[in-house]
Every structure is written in structure tokens, then in C-alpha cells.
Subunit: 196 residues, 2 copies
């Protein structure tokens, strides 16, 4: 069932950079994005979508009034069987980029493929859940480069490029990135819903 396009949307995230990215993308549609930094439990699940959906149900049960969005993202490294995946934030805060590079120290450049994945979850005004996913394929660089972005951005080189996410301007990264892709799918959904 179609719900009206929100004029104001809370983004439940502790990451101001993520909120700024969504804000920039929604501004042309006159949707105001407000960061809500409350936390919510993230389940240990195999997919980002499960993590996001469990978080949304928790927030609804806690009484947070929709509409709101939340997002989960992670880096999946093929040679490491998908590690760190849904636990990317913990990996970043513990072993960090030096740890990732050590784990790949003897892995050839052509087999250092990885993908950043994102799941943006929109909880509409009626409490319905809508998941929008994005993937950005690339590889892990042999050393860190750049100061932009956050997390593993300094070692991730998107396919077809030779610079890391951290070496790109926000708009350039967003045009390529997993999160940018998920946001664009969300925008398409809002446009279709508005027409319906």
C-alpha cells in the first residue's frame, strides 16, 4: 500500500557522514533528513538486510515513530571468505586497515577482489519495511591511500578505477558506491510511490 512521501525523515545512525550523504541526495526532493543517533542492537546475521530489518523491528517496538531509515554496510573480501562482512565496524575498530592488509599480505593483486555492500531500510509512515541494496565491486589495494570517507575506504579501489574511495570527493564516491546505489534505488521507489 502506498504511503505519502515523507517531508521529514529520521536516519537512525551514529555516523554523521552517512547522514550527510543521504541529506545531499534527498535535498532536491525537498525531503529533510535528520540524524537520530540513538543506537539499536545489531544482530549477528549473515546478511546486512537481516541486521537492518531486526534493527527496524526493535526501533518500532521501542516506540520510534516511522517514517525513518537505517542502514547497514560492510566489506566482503573474497580471499577471506567474506570477512569482515557484517562485522566490518568491529574489524575496523580492532585489527583495522593494518590487519586487513596483513591478512592479504601474500594474496596476489588479481585475487584481492572485494565488494562493499549496503542495505538501506526505509520504514514507511505505516510501519512497512522496504529494503534497498547496493553493491560496489572492486579490490583491496596493497597500501592505504587518501583521507576521505571512513572505515576501509582508504584500501578499497572500485572496479574500473585506480584510486581508493578515500581519494575521491564525496560526490564522486557516492556516484559509484554501494550506499549511493542503495540511496538511488530508494529515490526511485519514492518517485514511483508518489506517482501511484
Amino acid at each position: 500500500m502506498a504511503t505519502p512521501t515523507p517531508r521529514r525523515l529520521a536516519f537512525v545512525t551514529g555516523n554523521a557522514g552517512k547522514a550527510a550523504e543521504l541529506r545531499a541526495q534527498l535535498a532536491p526532493r525537498a525531503i529533510e533528513v535528520v540524524q537520530d543517533s540513538r543506537g539499536y542492537p545489531e544482530v549477528q546475521a549473515d546478511t546486512l538486510r537481516e541486521v537492518a530489518e531486526a534493527g527496524a523491528r526493535h526501533l518500532l517496538a521501542e516506540g520510534l515513530r516511522p517514517p525513518f531509515v537505517l542502514e547497514d554496510s560492510g566489506l566482503f573480501v573474497a580471499a577471506l571468505r567474506g570477512w569482515p562482512g557484517v562485522y566490518s565496524r568491529h574489524a575496523m575498530e580492532t585489527v583495522g586497515i593494518p590487519g586487513l592488509l596483513k591478512l592479504l599480505a601474500d594474496v596476489e593483486l588479481e585475487t584481492r577482489s572485494a565488494a562493499f555492500q549496503a542495505c538501506l531500510l526505509y520504514v514507511d509512515g505505516a510501519g512497512g519495511l522496504h529494503a534497498f541494496e547496493g553493491t560496489c565491486a572492486g579490490r583491496i589495494a596493497e597500501r592505504a591511500a587518501g583521507t576521505g570517507g571512513f572505515g576501509f575506504d582508504p584500501v578499497f579501489v572500485p572496479r574500473g578505477h585506480d584510486r581508493t574511495f578515500a581519494q575521491m570527493a564525496p560526490a564522486e564516491k557516492s556516484a559509484l558506491s554501494h550506499r549511493g546505489q542503495a540511496i538511488r534505488r530508494f529515490l526511485e521507489f519514492l518517485d514511483e510511490t508518489a506517482k501511484a
Copy 2:
């Protein structure tokens, strides 16, 4: 409030080895341990206790009748800021022991300290939660040894010993281990409750 000592106790775990260890320890008290392999969501939390408590509340909400126990454990490596910690199972299934050894490749033997931690959570017949914790300090060996146990046991050498957990017989490991310690605290609790 004291609840009667259970005669039959479900252990909600997918790990038959853990169930066998608890069964061996509770047999002398004529408490039957039955493995229940249903899964439950594990939250991404900072402590094992939070993971176990959230799991217990989920199982109760789902209608699992107490009494039952569940357990969470992890390996916390000091030089890696506590990684893999509560995400030990995921780390084991992805980067595994070779990954852990790579991350510590340039770390001197004297700074390879680590601790295994366990939290055993007992949900009594009235739905009350009781947490029993255990810690085993030690260090990460320079190479894997032994075939016993599971997880990171082949590279964990408990303090004061020169063999890994995987080189020890189950009873020897249990006398030292984090899980054995948590189980003994649980037994003391049952004994006190029976007296009250």
C-alpha cells in the same frame, strides 16, 4: 527467589561438544542435559553476557519453556584490541587460525597474551536470568598444535602450561577452561539454591 533444581535442562546450542561438556559436569548431580539445536539471534554487543541475555529473552519471547541454559564464548587477543571477541565464530569460519597467526606474525611471544571468556546463562524455571562467567588467560602460540577441542583451541596455550587446549584431554581442558569455570560457578549456584 529460589526455584527448584531442575532434573532436566535444555542447552540451546548448535555445538554438541559444549553440550557434552555440560552433560559430563551435571551427571553427578542427576541433572539430565539435552541439546536443543534451535538457533537464536546473537546481537552485536560488547560483552558475551549481553549476547547471551538477549538470546535468552528472545527464546523466552518465542515461547521456549524454561529452565534452559545457553552459552556464549570468545577469544580476546590483547594485541588485536580484543579481536575476535564476541565475533570469534565468524572469525573462525572466515579467516580462521591461519588468519589469526598472520595478524600476530610480527608480535613477540611475550606480547601474544589472550583470554578465552565464557558466559553461561541459566534461565530458571520462573524465567529468571543468572549469568556465570569464566575467563582463562593465556597466549597465542606461534603455530597450531593438537586435534582436540574446536575453534581456536589449537593455538591457545593457557597460562602456566606449554600445550594448547587442543593438545589436552577434555577433562584436563575443562579443569582449566573459561567454560569449565563458568560451569563450576553454575554448579555452586545450584548447590546454594538447593540449600536455601
